[in-house]
């Protein structure tokens, strides 16, 4: 009861804070005076209180909360207790609210240092969004409902009033088995939410700029860091999701073009486009209208993604159960899109006079190409995801859109993107003098082709693999070449060695080189995907204890079955020894975990990771006499995870370097004075 009261109070406080922030923010933006720090504090405090209440209830096994009664079990090990807070719908919205409060707080700190209408307006928008999400918690998605009628396991009826008579069950069913299986799953949602929710910041600044009639690069400049932070987390979240799918689900894949996966990918594509076109607006004041459209799209796509995941309108492995949250989210989505585009329509005269591009053979030109390609890519994913709905609504026919469709369009688009990724960094702003582009790009092209030929001759002639290596080498050598060129130039002037100058070149323009690191991360991912997808081996075998089979140069020996009882699950598996020739390599245990009363079991593969790639063993069936194993190899699959981390890392580096740059600028200003 106390925790329910505390949690509900927290939600109310956050709701009030958000509302005050919205109202006062508008007042300040229009020229009035009002305190915005207080409401922001209230919002943050309320959000923290709500989350704390939920976590305490989970870790202390307080089954009087219906959320705890229905999601938690005393047998769940500690870290998964904490993660149960976002294992189901209601708790995940609390997490969303907490992250939103955090980003709002960061925005308020910036406002404090530089209070003006633009910032106040942005805070107002963020307050409004907070009102919506905490309103959701209070109404349709409330984890603080108290259990008023208990079952043996779980809660039958609940009431949102914390003072209701409590009838708490003694035990709950525990979180979904899939969510207890691996630590990555505990981390994946918070990281992803940091990505999603962070996109509220640039959106808020954009709406503020539109409403106040202040076009120009200022709103992008202010929110760029938040965008990068959010983008980095979104990248990391997507990679973590793929990694988890690979490690935990037994199908050996990491991306299925499932609607919910697509829901995270679409904002990522739009955000990547926005980061690039935002740079164009900051440097050259171009693309103003496009940037508004893009940032509205980014934010809307995060809401659309949340909607698709939770509303039960689309069939997906990730679907939460249907609830009234669907219509609420859809209504909010419509409000956001219609409101933003209407506002944009009425202000269109302000943004229609940006300067034009002088030459397409310039960095702006390649950014335009990048944006066009990313937009088409995002559209492909969007259309593919909602097409079954549209078709059925308009014609009654039914269809499914899956991997074959997406791969067919996504792969060529990706390679086209890589093409421009190699051109963009080596092209200067405003255009390149004739010959400079050729001088910078001829070596990367030659090296790329050479690497491709080498791959075709000595690794594998498969087209996609060769193409991936070619493009990766082309992009990477372009970056390296640029670094060498600039270092050489400085070295010639200053007399220092190239290597020392290289360090200085990077330090002097960290945001640029951070971006290049992200680019390298992307091509590493591409190579990993190409190898893992095209050069893998697959086999299915039935073995009796003692049997041996040959696979991909290894000898797989089935030793015996085993069974282990753990506090929250029963583990059944096979002990397998892997040999290379006569040498022992590893002992693997592919298994199936049975949680609670579940009789299907969560099949967990055994993965052996080596520099060349992974050996992947899955249990299909086991009894005392024989085992059915599925054997796979995934060559170079670690490059996908590494590349993903590099890509996200580039974003993080860029954020920290901006802070440094600003500090440097401040220092130099002070020094000048």
């Amino acid at each position: 009861m106390m925790l329910a009261l505390f949690g509900t109070a927290g939600v109310l406080a956050a709701l009030t804070g958000g509302g005050l922030l919205a109202v006062r923010g508008i007042r300040v933006a229009r020229g009035g005076k009002s305190d915005l720090i207080g409401p922001a504090r209230l919002l943050a405090a309320g959000a923290i209180a709500a989350m704390a209440a939920l976590e305490i209830a989970l870790t202390a096994d307080d089954f009087s909360l219906s959320y705890v009664a229905n999601q938690h079990s005393t047998a769940t090990p500690f870290p998964f207790d904490v993660a149960t807070a976002w294992a189901a719908l209601e708790g995940s919205i609390v997490l969303w609210g907490l992250v939103l409060a955090g980003f709002t707080w960061m925005a308020v700190r910036r406002y404090r240092k530089a209070p003006d209408s633009l910032a106040a307006g942005a805070l107002a928008v963020m307050g409004g969004v907070a009102v919506f999400f905490f309103g959701l918690i209070l109404t349709v998605s409330n984890p603080f409902e108290v259990c008023t009628s208990a079952l043996e396991v779980g809660c039958a009826q609940s009431s949102p009033f914390p003072w209701s008579t409590v009838a708490a069950p003694a035990q709950g069913p525990g979180p979904n088995p899939l969510l207890q299986n691996h630590y990555l799953m505990a981390v994946h949602p918070p990281v992803l939410y940091l990505g999603y929710v962070g996109m509220t910041v640039p959106f808020a600044y954009a709406i503020s700029a539109l409403a106040l009639g202040v076009p120009g690069p200022e709103w992008i400049r202010r929110s760029h860091r938040s965008t990068l932070v959010a983008w980095s987390f979104l990248t990391l979240g997507i990679v973590l999701g793929g990694w988890w799918a690979y490690e935990v689900l037994s199908w050996g894949g990491y991306w299925a073009w499932d609607p919910v996966e697509n829901a995270s990918f679409m904002p990522w594509l739009a955000a990547t486009a926005f980061i690039h076109s935002g740079l164009v607006q900051q440097r050259r004041q171009m693309l103003q209208a496009w940037n508004f459209v893009l940032v509205i799209a980014v934010f809307s796509l995060t809401i659309l993604g949340t909607f698709l995941t939770r509303s039960g309108t689309i069939n997906s492995v990730h679907s939460f159960t249907q609830s009234a949250i669907g219509p609420a989210l859809l209504g909010f989505l419509v409000l956001v899109l219609v409101g933003s585009f209407s506002l944009f329509a009425t202000r269109s005269n302000l943004v229609s006079t940006s300067p034009r591009v002088d030459s397409f053979v310039s960095r702006e030109g390649s950014f335009l190409a990048n944006n066009l390609l990313l937009t088409v890519y995002g559209f492909v994913v969007l259309v593919g995801t909602i097409y079954p709905l549209l078709l059925e609504a308009f014609t009654g026919d039914q269809t499914a859109v899956g991997e074959p469709f997406f791969n067919r369009l996504a792969v060529p688009l990706s390679f086209l993107l890589l093409l421009f990724m190699g051109l963009g960094p080596v092209l200067p702003w405003r255009g390149s003098p004739p010959g400079q582009l050729w001088a910078r790009v001829r070596a990367p092209i030659a090296l790329g082709l050479a690497a491709g030929v080498a791959t075709a001759l000595w690794v594998s002639p498969v087209g996609w693999v060769v193409l991936a290596v070619t493009f990766a080498t082309y992009v990477t050598s372009g970056i390296v070449g640029l670094l060498l060129e600039q270092s050489r130039a400085r070295s010639a002037k200053g007399g220092q060695s190239i290597w020392r100058e290289m360090r200085r070149v990077v330090v002097n323009d960290q945001t640029f080189w951070a971006g290049q690191m992200s680019h390298i991360g992307v091509v590493v991912v591409v190579v990993g995907i190409a190898f893992a997808a095209n050069l893998s081996h697959h086999d299915e075998v039935t073995l009796e204890p003692g049997d041996q089979t040959e696979f991909a140069g290894y000898s797989i020996v089935y030793e015996s079955p085993f069974q282990v009882r753990e506090p929250n699950r029963l583990v059944r598996g096979a002990r397998v020894t892997v040999l290379r020739g006569d040498d022992f390599v590893a002992s693997l245990e592919p298994r199936a975990n049975f949680y609670g009363s579940d009789t299907t079991g969560v099949v967990t593969p055994a993965v052996l990771s080596r520099p060349w790639g992974d050996l992947y063993l899955t249990l299909r069936d086991i009894d005392s006499e024989r085992v059915e194993l599925v054997l796979d190899t995934s060559p170079l699959i670690w490059m996908i995870w590494l590349g993903g981390i590099l890509t996200a890392g580039g974003g993080a580096w860029s954020v920290s370097s901006r802070r440094q740059e600003r500090a440097l600028v401040r220092q130099s200003l002070i020094a000048d004075v």
């Binding site: 199908w251 088409v376 269809t399 469709f405």
Partner: protein, 334 residues
């Protein structure tokens, strides 16, 4: 080395390497078998989004065996796909064809790409308008803001209304409305008789009997209704309401059909044993006492008791008061 030489060197290198590359690269080798290929295009009907080639479920494996068999029999990819789609509809096709209704799926991205290119090119060609506008000051029209708000609210309303109107899909999630009520309407008397005859120990049988018997009763077919009411009344598992209804009907049929007042009264009494306050039983008993037995005093008592019941509906009250008035006036019953 002069710039020109370097350029030529690179061009030659690139050209040569390009040619070598094209020659050494093979078109994706068919490491994937035909069966695998076909399987990767069909969605597993019992899984969430996996293809039958990827899914470990039994159904997926059975479908893959079917495909293997068909491939061995010499069917083409298209024929096999058509066979499976004929059973499951296009909902299991992961790669919609580039024709007919799914053509839009392929055209849409192409359209966006072309549109985007056109916009960029046109944007480049336009002569820029005078100067770069920076800050134009806060717009004064509050009206615009209000208009925007009104527009948004209107849009949201449209969406809600249209969505409610369009909703026509019912699935298990919508809950199953009382199935028996629907089914009963569609079942003919003969079928219901047959079903009842065969379902002696079915838990719902009393409900069915009663429904059928009511049909006969309304149609005036007392003879057909009789055995069913009897069965319900005699069954040990009928609910109070079911038993009372049967007994009361039996009683009335006994009086109305066969003029057996004694039997009727006995049956009404049995009903009243179950629920002494049953309004129907009391009223009918009173009516039979008055009309059949000519025992006006007993009938008056019954009607008076009824009128005392505070939960008596108004129409019934009116009716009973009329009857009581008639009774007191010594009139014949109707």
């Amino acid at each position: 080395m002069s710039e020109r030489t370097r350029t030529w060197l690179f061009l030659t290198a690139i050209a040569t390497l390009g040619v070598v590359l094209v020659l050494t690269v093979s078109v994706q080798p068919q490491t994937e078998s035909r069966v695998s290929h076909i399987g990767s295009r069909i969605k597993c009907p019992v899984c969430q989004g996996e293809s039958i080639a990827d899914s470990p479920s039994q159904m997926a494996q059975d479908m893959m065996s079917l495909i293997e068999e068909r491939v061995a029999q010499g069917a083409t990819d298209a024929e096999i796909e058509t066979e499976i789609l004929a059973a499951y509809s296009g909902a299991v096709l992961l790669d919609p064809p580039m024709s007919g209704r799914t053509l839009a799926l392929w055209l849409a991205p192409a359209a966006v790409a072309i549109l985007g290119l056109a916009v960029i090119v046109r944007w480049r060609r336009q002569t820029p308008e005078s100067g770069v506008t920076t800050d134009v000051g806060r717009p004064s029209s509050r009206r615009r803001l209000i208009g925007g708000v009104v527009l948004t609210v209107a849009m949201v309303t449209i969406v809600v209304i249209a969505a409610t109107a369009l909703q026509d899909r019912e699935g298990p999630a919508a809950g199953v409305a009382n199935p028996e009520a629907q089914d009963l309407e569609n079942v003919s008397n003969e079928t219901l008789e047959a079903v009842i005859a065969a379902n002696d120990d079915h838990p719902d049988i009393n409900g069915w009997r009663l429904a059928l018997a009511e049909r006969y009763y309304e149609a005036g077919d007392y003879r057909s209704a009789f055995p069913h009411y009897l069965a319900v009344a005699d069954s040990g598992v009928a609910s109070a309401a079911e038993a009372i209804t049967s007994l009361v009907r039996l009683g009335w049929m006994a009086y109305d059909g066969n003029e057996e007042s004694e039997t009727a009264l006995t049956l009404f009494d049995r009903a009243l044993e179950i629920d002494p306050s049953s309004q129907v039983a009391l009223y009918l008993k009173g009516t039979v006492l008055w009309c059949g037995d000519r025992d006006a005093d007993a009938a008056r008592d019954m009607f008076a008791d009824l009128l005392d019941d505070p939960e008596l509906p108004d129409e019934s009250r009116v009716q009973i008061e009329e009857d009581l008035a008639d009774l007191d006036a010594g009139e014949e019953c109707t």
